[in-house]
């Protein structure tokens, strides 16, 4: 019950927020943090089970028909993620209460972010891939609403839409992958999929499944070439960026990769896909980060880079690299949330995020500086921080791998760049002379608790890695390997290659940091170009899509009834012709050699009259020709022995002609608007369609059903229905319902006509 509870609690709090919030003044809204804190405590209470390598499952049936159920499963990996989501979530909500104080849409923020939080928690706890996808989409939508939080700003709207389209598009690809996976293995449960891993990997759809699922993971975790949405998502308020776009949501992609490693991983396809995409992203993003001045942009790029590292590490597929991935994920969540909150505080208290204007804040913002410094040292990889541990494992696993040279060099480059990025955020704004133009003050306590706590944790867990090894690393590793064995985590491994590499990284990083200004200056312009290029190509893509949509709409939806009719009729005639020509069944004409000459003459005459009706410019002639055609049809009825029908037809025709006459005799002649070409086209078109239908009719002519209902009618009409006239009996007894319906049709027509007349008079007098 407690896993469901920990998710449902937050959902309920979210839905209750709009109602409760009016009773909570802005100052006390940090109380909202109690909700995720409770979930945090609930999850922590299972720590001892997790540490023994146990997994806790809770199953609730939802739609068993499709094998879609809420199967919550808390294992090492989801335990780690759940702690981050709820723990950092609580701190972020506290922080937000200070940051958003006085925002008018404050309540909406709390509602949406809690929905997000619950969805994210549901995502990591779901063992069922479909249920996971549902939560996944919920995080996408809530992220959309949060990125567009300042919705009156067109830029925010644009970026929210971009993030949504990219991640939702990837999400749907992933959905296809999940459907295929489910089809191949017959289940959506990850824990069961693992037992079919070999079969899945040998299946002919394996590559397709991997690509589709990776599309989902890569878009969500902003891997190249989908990386561009993440820096743009910084249009969101900073607490959102800190929470969604660094610590939690963007980790969903790598989480999914980790989750499915035992199912899909271990093949060279998987290895190469993840290593190259992740590796490229990590270097590209870290180097792009060097050229920005906006604190949040720098943070976004360093986040991207770390996500690339984690993808790469998962792809490498060794136990060493899995450990590194876990440590990297953990360390990054701690320091990046801190740095984001620091950036938010600086922005909030100084009004700018431009690092060229920020300096010497250490005196006015000492606590913020402390938190920033701790987090930056962790990101830079200084011992004894958790970031150092992660980097040691990163190097270690690279050295251990058979793609050694490539991996080490790229690891080295990205680590060095990350060092610079860390210092740019954590030290640059605080050191140096004060900028007199900026009037800053320390952030309020609510905005300090979060960063200081997380900053200290970065240090503490580095100093005392024991609990991390026991509660986080070993159980989470079991999620990759499917077998549990406790692992140790030590700060000091003696002097080895990894340590030496680390030291070189720190030295070179520091050197590079000193050159930061030059790099940035030399690269000005590059940033705009690069960033704009991706933005632009997305925008161009969207625009050309809309252009294409408009073009195709115009093509078929011209607005003219004539072309609508042509399209509609040719669709019908085309299908029919296709069947007649390709499937066969063209009628055999020789059977018609016995057509009587008189019938033939008659038909020719009818055809001529029809042509007259179509071509004449006089309404009267057209009407009379139609009348002639009608009487011609009457004659056909006579010839084939249906005198009653013929009488009816005569009456109808006469009435129609006379009534039409009354209506149209005052109207002018037809105007001839059509060009010759149009007319020719129409004539040919009509002939083809007419001929096609004729074929069909001739074909039907050959049919004779064994004992048609008409025979029964003739037999029963007098004996059972007591009527001598079969037609009458059909109309009022056998098929009285049709007559009833037709009477209704006539009444409706009458209603319509009277409506037209009545209102015309009224409106004329008005």
């Amino acid at each position: 019950m407690f896993l469901l509870l920990s998710v449902a609690l937050i959902f309920m709090a979210a839905f209750a927020t709009p109602a409760i919030a009016r009773f909570i003044p802005h100052k006390q809204r940090f109380l909202f943090a109690l909700v995720p804190a409770t979930s945090f405590a609930l999850i922590c209470s299972k720590a001892s089970d997790i540490a023994q390598g146990l997994a806790i499952s809770e199953d609730y049936t939802w739609i068993p028909a499709f094998d879609i159920n809420l199967n919550f499963r808390l294992d090492g990996l989801s335990f780690l993620m759940a702690l981050l989501i709820t723990g950092i979530g609580a701190l972020i909500l506290t922080y937000a209460s200070g940051y958003l104080k006085g925002y008018e849409a404050n309540t909406r923020f709390y509602t949406i972010i809690q929905i997000f939080m619950a969805a994210m928690l549901g995502l990591v706890l779901s063992d069922n891939l479909i249920a996971m996808f549902i939560f996944w989409e919920l995080t996408t939508v809530s992220s959309f609403l949060l990125v567009g939080f300042n919705h009156e700003n067109p830029d925010a709207r644009k970026k929210a839409l971009q993030a949504l389209i990219v991640t939702a598009g990837g999400g749907l690809a992933m959905f296809a992958g999940i459907l295929l996976l489910g089809n191949v293995a017959g289940t959506y449960q990850v824990s069961e999929l693992i037992t079919h891993a070999e079969m899945i990997k040998n299946h002919k759809l394996y590559e397709a499944i991997v690509i589709l699922i990776c599309l989902g993971a890569f878009t969500k975790s902003a891997q190249f070439p989908f990386h561009f949405w993440l820096p743009n998502a910084m249009a969101a308020p900073t607490p959102v960026s800190a929470y969604l776009h660094s610590a939690t949501m963007v980790k969903a992609g790598v989480f999914l990769l980790a989750r499915l490693t035992p199912v899909l991983g271990g093949t060279s396809f998987w290895l190469h896909l993840l290593v190259y995409v992740g590796g490229f992203t990590m270097i590209l993003a870290a180097s792009l980060g060097l050229i920005y001045r906006d604190l949040k942009k720098i943070l976004a790029y360093s986040t991207l880079s770390v996500l690339g590292i984690i993808t790469l590490l998962i792809g490498m597929g060794t136990e060493f690299s899995f450990k590194a991935a876990i440590m990297m994920l953990f360390a990054h969540a701690l320091y990046k949330a801190t740095l984001f909150m620091v950036a938010g505080s600086i922005d909030h208290e100084t009004g700018t995020r431009d690092i060229t204007r920020l300096r010497g804040l250490r005196k006015v913002m000492p606590w913020t500086f402390a938190a920033a410094g701790l987090a930056a040292l962790s990101q830079a990889g200084f011992p004894p921080f958790t970031g150092f541990l992660a980097k040691e494992y990163f190097y270690g696993s690279a050295l251990d791998h058979n793609m050694k040279i490539l991996l080490i060099s790229s690891a080295f480059i990205s680590s060095m760049f990350l060092f610079v990025l860390a210092f740019k955020i954590g030290f640059h704004p605080f050191l140096g002379r004060e900028n007199k133009k900026i009037h800053a003050h320390e952030a309020p306590p609510t905005m300090l608790i979060g960063p200081v706590t997380l900053g200290l944790l970065s240090l503490l867990f580095g100093l005392f890695p024991g609990p991390i090894a026991k509660y986080i690393l070993s159980p989470a590793l079991a999620s990759f390997n499917t077998t549990f064995h406790p692992v140790k985590l030590k700060l000091w491994h003696g002097v080895n290659t990894a340590l030496i590499l680390s030291l070189i990284t720190l030295t070179c990083g520091f050197g590079l940091y000193k050159l930061r200004k030059k790099i940035r200056q030399n690269a000005t312009g590059v940033d705009d170009k690069l960033n704009i290029q991706f933005d632009q190509s997305f925008a161009n893509g969207l625009e050309s899509f809309i252009k294409f949509a408009k073009w195709s709409t115009k093509l078929i939806q011209s607005g003219s009834l004539r072309s609508y009719m042509i399209i509609t009729i040719s669709a019908f005639a085309g299908l029919l012709l296709y069947i007649l020509l390709y499937v066969g069944g063209m009628p055999e004409f020789y059977k018609f050699s016995h057509v009587k000459p008189i019938t033939l003459a008659f038909l020719v005459a009818l055809a001529i009259v029809t042509i007259v009706a179509c071509t004449t410019l006089s309404r009267m002639t057209a009407l009379l020709s139609l009348g002639v055609i009608g009487f011609g049809i009457t004659l056909i009825y006579m010839m084939y022995g249906a005198p009653d029908l013929a009488f009816t037809q005569i009456l109808v025709e006469t009435l129609t002609v006379v009534m039409f006459m009354v209506v149209i005799h005052k109207l002018p002649r037809f105007k001839d608007f059509s060009t010759r070409r149009k007319k020719a086209f129409d004539a040919i078109f009509a002939s083809i369609v007419g001929m096609t239908v004729t074929f069909l009719v001739i074909k039907a002519q050959n049919l004779s059903s064994k004992n048609p209902v008409s025979q029964i009618y003739a037999e029963t009409s007098y004996l059972e229905a007591h009527g001598r006239n079969v037609v009458n009996v059909i109309l009022v007894d056998f098929r009285a319902f049709d007559t009833f319906g037709e009477i209704v049709v006539l009444s409706i027509a009458g209603l319509g006509v009277s409506l037209l007349m009545r209102n015309n008079k009224k409106e004329d007098t008005e």
Partner: protein
């Protein structure tokens, strides 16, 4: 009296009474409301009967099914009757305030009830020619409802609507005639039986084309959907909502009925036609929608693309596929009607539905905005709302049938649908009201309950269909199984004839 007659007689009597009391709108309103409630209750009752006792048959005049006309209700028909009852009641309430008294006095209530009669008749009839008659009832009453505002664009739309739909009638009639010539019967069960006995595939295919084209026009399939975007956005919003919710769906109903009972799709070529048409309908529909900037036009064209999903479900011809099509039908009727109802509120508030001229709805009215977002996201298939499940079932059926092209196009169309819906959201709700177009709506305050109740109710339905959809879905599966095993239907209808 047979419960099968009620869905026909209730609206018929209501229509007659409304015509009688044409002077008093008050009386007409009460009559129509009572009729709609009664209609819903009768449909529910019928559904219950069908579920507990199996397929219900009423033989008109006591004649055997192949001689007289049989009314038949299986699960699929009765589901459709229930949803029709629901929508007609909801839209009726909405229209009481949304339509001006002047419009209401133009025989709105009689026509509304006649339309319902036509729709219900199509669902319960078991006779192919009788189906044609009910189609005529529907066509004529909907034509007059479209045109009754008599504004130029309404008349233009109505002309296009009626011309193309009359062509559909011609095809339908020819189809019915050829079928009669071939089998000597008009009763659908009888026809099915006779065709199954002597299968002349070549003839079947070409006759099937007549029905495919005729119903294709009615249900707005590519490329025969053009009447829809030309007309649906022009009449008063209540009428648009009713049409958007029900009319094309009657076409789909007829399509599913015909192509499971008379021409079962397990025939290679026809099925391939359906695949191609399904994909093109989805894709072209969504493309046309992406290029629009008027809310009602966007919504209208999206009907087309979503019809594609239903045809996709039918085309797969598996129990899951057809169940998915039915579920999709239900979801779409609810959500689409509701979105049109929203557009009516926007029109009242802002005086326009042109996205370039409106904005700021979120800030002023967050509650309304949230309701809209739920429905819009449901249409786009965002979980856990109803649209997700509808799409899930259809696409899963496609994946099960190894039709990956269908799966892929279904998903891609989903992304574009999402784009369209967020476009409405971003422009109408998030954006500030453009300064060059000050809102010109008459009332910016709270809407009367007659307007809001239907919207809230349908939104709850969408949500409930998403979270507790299993119950409904199970009925859909039962209905699909019934459709795929026509013997039950044939026996129920023809049993007495033997």
């Amino acid at each position: 009296m047979s419960p099968l007659l009620l869905p026909l007689l209730v609206p018929f009597i209501a229509a007659l009474c409304c015509t009688l009391f044409s002077k008093s709108l008050k009386v007409q309103r009460s009559i129509s409301l009572i009729a709609a409630v009664f209609h819903l209750a009768a449909s529910f009752n019928l559904l219950q009967n069908v579920r507990s006792e199996g397929i219900q048959v009423y033989l008109n005049g006591g004649w055997a099914a192949n001689i007289g006309i049989a009314l038949v209700a299986d699960l699929f028909s009765s589901i459709m009757l229930v949803i029709t009852g629901l929508i007609s009641l909801v839209v009726l309430i909405y229209s009481l305030k949304e339509m001006s008294d002047k419009l209401q006095s133009r025989a709105y209530f009689p026509l509304f009830n006649f339309l319902m009669m036509g729709v219900n008749g199509s669902f319960v009839t078991g006779d192919i020619f009788n189906l044609y008659v009910w189609f005529e009832v529907m066509l004529l009453s909907s034509f007059i409802l479209l045109a009754m505002g008599k504004k130029p664009d309404q008349l233009e739309g109505a002309i296009k609507y009626v011309t193309i739909n009359l062509f559909s009638s011609i095809l339908f009639l020819s189809g019915a005639a050829i079928i009669y010539a071939k089998t000597g019967s008009l009763n659908m069960a009888d026809i099915a039986m006779r065709i199954a006995e002597s299968s002349d595939e070549k003839l079947l295919n070409s006759t099937a084309i007549l029905f495919l084209s005729s119903f294709g026009i009615k249900s707005a399939l590519f490329p025969m959907f053009l009447w829809l975007p030309a007309s649906y956005h022009t009449p008063p919003v209540s009428i648009s909502s009713l049409f958007a919710g029900l009319l094309t769906k009657v076409g789909i109903y007829a399509m599913i009925r015909t192509f499971t009972l008379i021409f079962p799709l397990n025939n290679g070529l026809l099925q391939e036609f359906f695949y191609v048409i399904a994909i093109l309908t989805m894709v072209v529909g969504v493309l046309c929608a992406a290029s629009q900037f008027e809310i009602r036009k966007i919504l209208s064209v999206h009907i087309v693309s979503q019809i594609g999903y239903m045809i996709l479900g039918l085309a797969l011809f598996t129990p899951l596929g057809i169940a998915g099509a039915i579920f999709y039908l239900l979801h779409n009727i609810i959500v689409k009607t509701n979105l049109f109802l929203f557009s009516g509120v926007i029109l009242r508030k802002k005086g326009s539905c042109d996205l370039k001229k409106i904005g700021g709805l979120y800030k002023v009215n967050p509650g309304f905005a949230t309701l809209f977002a739920l429905s819009a996201f449901a249409l786009a298939g965002v979980p856990p709302l109803s649209g997700f499940w509808a799409k899930f079932v259809v696409l899963k059926a496609a994946a099960d049938a190894h039709e990956y092209l269908l799966l892929g196009s279904g998903l891609a169309v989903g992304v574009v649908t999402l784009f369209s819906m967020t476009k409405i959201w971003a422009e109408a709700f998030w954006k500030k009201q453009p300064e060059e177009y000050p809102g010109v709506g008459e009332d910016t305050g709270n809407q009367p309950w007659q307007i809001m109740l239907p919207i809230v109710f349908l939104t709850i339905c969408t949500f409930a269909l998403g979270i507790w959809g299993e119950l409904i879905f199970n009925i859909c599966v039962e209905a699909a199984e019934q459709l795929l095993n026509p013997t039950e239907y044939i026996n129920a209808v023809m049993g007495e004839a033997k």
